[in-house]
Symmetry: C2
């Protein structure tokens, strides 16, 4: 009979391989590492895993990560509550926060993908429509990814919100700062030229 | 104030980034994935983690993974108990099991690395010396990695066991099967030529 690892080790390797970005080799490497790791360190990881399941949920209003019913952004009265920035995933919120945007968010938790057959039911839109219908929203900024799916999703949302008296904008596509014109792809260049702006010199 | 993720999420990302082969990006990706994962699946991972800490230890005789004081290999009376194959890590045992070797093992749990300043105290040798001294061992096969450290370790062990009436061998270095002579490195070629064997035709 060919030898194999003891069952508990096989079980951990299998559980680890189900995680995104972890192949069978990395799963093994992590499992071997954890066997040698002090019990306390594994305990910290276990506590952290249980922590997210017990404490982390999605904000009832915008869908960002939250420890209570409302996330820290939606509860922050110092922010501009008349602008909503729509993003695909919760992690996109932190990316947008690096800009000077200080309004509110709406997280879609998905994207419409005509190619993969993912329709409008894949994105959480009801809450956004509700917020816009309720009023007090002046502008909805669509910040989906600059991909085929992201553009399709943005277009769908724009059509859906057309009936409301609200400004609907989309963040600009163009050459990234620090990028190189020589190595820019065609699609980006096309968008960069289409989105060209007048330079006002005085 | 710049926004960040809720504390439990930050804690999990940090715990995950300590694992080998997991960078900050992968740690985030796994954490975001786990937030959306059903509680049961995270429960399975937690149980698996606790399982290895509660159930997996190292065999008292050879150092391979084990659920009891002795591993399944050392307890197997059907194996050749007169040959010990010395490997660097527990996972090397399974690699050697792919060959036709059916003797016993000794896992060093480390390697002597002159370059990194890791001396003989880095390898678990006492138990091997004890087993060889006790007798009944006819041959010790050194199967450390074909690297500078592996060779240094093998040499050190060979010297240490010289005093005992035991045959000490080292697995062959040479061209890997399916490899290409054209792309073989110099060191491998040198070893392949040094280890050349007479072809006995009849």
């Amino acid at each position: 009979m060919a030898q194999s690892y003891p069952d508990p080790l096989v079980r951990l390797i299998s559980a680890l391989s189900h995680l995104p970005g972890i192949g069978p080799k990395t799963a093994q490497r992590i499992a071997f590492y954890l066997v040698k790791t002090p019990r306390e360190e594994v305990g910290e990881l276990v506590a952290a895993l249980e922590g997210i399941k017990q404490k982390i949920r999605f904000c009832q209003v915008c869908g960002f990560y939250s420890e209570g019913p409302l996330c820290t952004i939606c509860s922050d009265q110092g922010r501009d509550r008349s602008v909503i920035c729509v993003v695909e995933q919760p992690q996109d919120v932190l990316a947008v926060e690096k800009s000077s945007f200080r309004g509110l968010y709406h997280v879609l938790h998905g994207v419409i993908s005509p190619l993969l057959g993912a329709g409008p039911e894949e994105v959480a839109l009801d809450q956004l429509v509700f917020r816009v219908r309720e009023g007090n929203i002046k502008e909805v900024i669509l910040a989906t990814n600059p991909s085929v799916d992201g553009e399709a999703t943005a277009l769908f949302i724009a059509r859906k919100l057309k009936v409301f008296p609200v400004r609907i904008t989309m963040i600009a596509r163009g050459l990234p700062l620090g990028g190189d014109l020589e190595f820019a792809d065609e699609a980006t260049l096309l968008q960069a030229f289409e989105g060209r702006r007048e330079l006002h010199l005085d």
